[in-house]
Symmetry: C2
Amino acid sequence: MDDLETRELRYFVAVAEELHFGRAAARLGIAQPPLSRAITQLERRLGVRLLDRDRRGAALTDAGRVLLREARTALDAVAAAVRRTRRAGDPERPLVLVTKAGASHELLRALLDALAEPVEVLLCEVGEQAHRLRDGQADIALMHRPFDDLAGFDTADLHTESQVTIVPATHPLAARDSVTLAEVSAVPDLPIARWPRLDGTYPDGPGPEVRTQSQLAQLVALGRTLLVIPASSRAWQWPEHVAVPVVDAPDVTTVLAWPPGSPVQSLVRSAAGLSF
Amino acid sequence: MDDLETRELRYFVAVAEELHFGRAAARLGIAQPPLSRAITQLERRLGVRLLDRDRRGAALTDAGRVLLREARTALDAVAAAVRRTRRAGDPERPLVLVTKAGASHELLRALLDALAEPVEVLLCEVGEQAHRLRDGQADIALMHRPFDDLAGFDTADLHTESQVTIVPATHPLAARDSVTLAEVSAVPDLPIARWPRLDGTYPDGPGPEVRTQSQLAQLVALGRTLLVIPASSRAWQWPEHVAVPVVDAPDVTTVLAWPPGSPVQSLVRSAAGLSF
DNA sequence: AAGCTCTGATACCTACCGGGTATTAGGCTT
DNA sequence: AAGCCTAATACCCGGTAGGTATCAGAGCTT
């Protein structure tokens, strides 16, 4: 009567994401009728209506939205259990550290040295680190406060720095010693790029939509957008651009994050204490 | 080939906790042979040996220990999904706040007022709050840093205070204006009580073993043990005892904790911002 | 040393249930 | 009204979880 199987959660997540039983069934590699039955049974077992069926598909109820969120984290936890157990059985297992492309090379190098352990570095797109950590693909992540979502992890601060804006060398702002956020966002010919929200949609605004670091780098190189980034990230240099300090941008702290209770904690603590 | 069902995780946890297939099967309400087969199959699917079978039971391998930890959090996440979804379907749902007995009444009262929402208060034993939060029995918890395990939660600090020791009025220390931790732990006739660790075992030491607040309160009242607690916890008064400040004990911060991503976050943030 | 006992593993059977196909039912478009 | 798209229902089949009976091995006891 009580606890669910992960199969039921997977099925529900598929339907909740597709909002269409047929497509969800195709994605799951099963036929539509068993899927309908599984969801109905799930609703009966929970005693809660999850979807409002409709001639043109389905819509989530409030309870459905809650289950979607909870099911995703639960499925991540199960996937993490599988990955971490498999890796624990491998005597050669390296530690997997995930970081986004463009993080400071010097810091990463120092960290790898300090850990004194074989470390495999996994690169991912912006904002993806938390997910890799949650579902067990990585053991530690290098993230940046206040940008990244650190909720649910233990963290150790490594390094704090201020931010600069990257502008074409020919631009009027390039001659300045420093600028403010207000000035930066008011530059009409160089609107700031827009990143997707957690749900994949984009906020409104004049700037170009980007999804990856490389897209952004491309746009910057083309002189189509302005960028505010931590000072050390100048690592990804553009020859034709200059960096101008942004005085009132929040400081960015590079942090090491790991799942609470993970055995890497002691390792990390000693390494972090040593060198930073 | 890949993802596990919660049934398999439940089975493994039972065996890992009992270290005995027969007892684990009984606990699960199934027969021993299917359980053996399920675990064997689990090991085959993961490609990892989880238990070293032995004539007098079973012992966990390294990988088994990893899976035990991961499986518990995964099962908690699934249980949380069920509970939270059920409650989301209930229009009357109150917010459930869990706190340990003995927390400051004034603070709790102020908090309940600030939340401006029906709140059900759930009392639990020391150190149990985190678990209630993780498996969905509660939405928010009142915890104390540095005592409680805050890993994996979002938190908001409410109040910080110093600690006092509670001694019988007749005791020599009772006349002092303040004492140090070293002095407190050196009192030979009043050894400090020992709490169980996470795994249920007790650290070594001369003091009495306690498992609940009421046991401890009883021992204090009897003059059998010494206590160092936050100043406000004098709430649970003993008529025959006095409180003496402990100058070098770490400050205790009362914090509100909730699962990351929970919708209570906004509610809590505004309430916490208001009144503390 | 023989036998008892306690452990987990194996063999085999049954029944449930997850999944398939075929079909129905309802609402929208045309 | 016909045709479509949706999800739900009806029904059948096969895999597998779970049961009982039994085996196998390592300490016991005597």
